[in-house]
């Protein structure tokens, strides 16, 4: 695997991005949780106000086996804010199809993301990983990532729709 290309995603990549989102969710045993559609991805990523940015990895069609897809990996990110250190790049999803792993594609994506972070004045690149996903944790740790949950005790919480509704329709002050 010596020829692959990384580029910014375009609207035409949306079907491939959704396919890879679902493959990643399946890898994390959470496939049924993906409710996003191609229409959502198109509006949210390529409209007037993008909510995310995306890099895709593609291989030339003659390198595919079984006429498989050309886009074989992606990374989705956006910018967040840490009141202590300022702007951050948040890596939401990062995935390379199984048969294309081990060729350095993931490494190159991570380097490009880091370069983007530095170029856009971000102090840090943050992301979450499930503790059962040892392969990914090792991948990141080999490259110098720190586990803030272990080192500092941060725990991720969510508050879902019904609880938010209860809170937002509470008494006015």
């Amino acid at each position: 695997m010596d020829r692959f290309k990384l580029r910014k995603a375009e609207p035409k990549d949306v079907p491939d991005i959704l396919r890879l989102i679902k493959e990643l969710a399946k890898y994390e045993d959470m496939e049924d949780q993906v409710i996003l559609t191609e229409k959502d991805l198109l509006e949210d990523g390529f409209g007037d106000h993008p909510f995310y940015h995306c890099i895709v990895a593609e291989v030339p069609s003659e390198k595919q086996s079984n006429n498989g897809p050309v886009v074989i990996g992606f990374a989705m990110y956006y910018f967040t804010y840490d009141p202590w250190i300022g702007k951050l790049l948040y890596l939401e999803d990062f995935f390379v199809m199984e048969e294309y792993r081990g060729f350095g594609i993931g490494s190159e994506i991570l380097k490009l993301l880091s370069h983007t972070a530095v170029k856009t004045r971000c102090s840090s690149m943050h992301f979450i990983v499930a503790e059962g996903n040892q392969a990914s944790i090792e991948f990141y740790k080999r490259r110098g990532a720190a586990d803030l949950s272990l080192e500092e005790g941060w725990r991720l919480f969510k508050i879902d729709k019904s609880s938010l509704l209860k809170m937002s329709s509470g008494p006015e002050e």
Binding site: H115, I128, S149, I159
Partner: protein, 196 residues
């Protein structure tokens, strides 16, 4: 005690900066704060802001011994879940110690939840933008936002506060850990990036 929750203005950044430091002291990490109020002004009040902020203020007769009437804040931004779409992430929620237990934290968080609903609905072209009150959303079949936040594992008062409001610990339930590339490790990776 009467209090008001409102959107922060640029002039509030000095107070926000003060409270960011107070929260960092509470979390035992004051030396990690590198931002100044000028950074907050630039990053939150330019045409393309990276965060939004609500502040809680009390009337003059309840001001602190140092003369502050701004006694709490919630700093949040919009994120994107590849599973569910647009979400809100509440990065900081803080109320000064003497003003806790009076519903201010709850009031701030309720407004963040409201903002999340309004934002999501206003972004939908089928939604009537003249409908402003979030209580109108009750009963409407809409995919509403989800709010995410993080808490330190030893911070029991905060853990109890959020769990009472319906928060679920995803680190415990699903094993999610926060990781980061920071400082030198980020620079090292960046230098090896493929050239354009």
């Amino acid at each position: 005690m009467h209090f008001k929750v409102r959107a922060a203005a640029k002039e509030d950044c000095k107070d926000i900066s003060r409270m960011i430091m107070e929260l960092a002291v509470y979390e035992n990490m004051p030396d990690q704060v590198k931002t100044s109020h000028e950074d907050l002004e630039r990053d939150g009040f330019s045409p393309n802001p990276f965060y939004e902020c609500l502040i809680a203020e009390v009337p003059d007769e309840h001001k602190t011994k140092d003369g502050y009437t701004v006694v709490g804040y919630a700093l949040y931004f919009y994120t994107y879940s590849t599973w569910k779409g647009r979400s809100v992430y509440m990065e900081d929620l803080y109320v000064m110690p003497d003003f806790r237990g009076k519903g201010i934290g709850t009031g701030l968080m309720a407004k963040v939840a409201q903002v999340g609903f309004m934002f999501h609905c206003m972004a939908d072209p089928n939604w009537n933008s003249s409908i402003y009150l979030p209580c109108s959303l009750v009963g409407v079949e809409k995919q509403c936002v989800r709010l995410q936040l993080s808490v330190l594992d030893w911070n029991k008062p905060s853990l109890d506060f959020y769990i009472a409001k319906g928060a679920e610990d995803l680190t415990a339930k699903e094993g999610w850990h926060f990781l980061r590339f920071h400082g030198q490790t980020l620079d090292t990776l960046a230098k090896e990036a493929p050239k354009d």
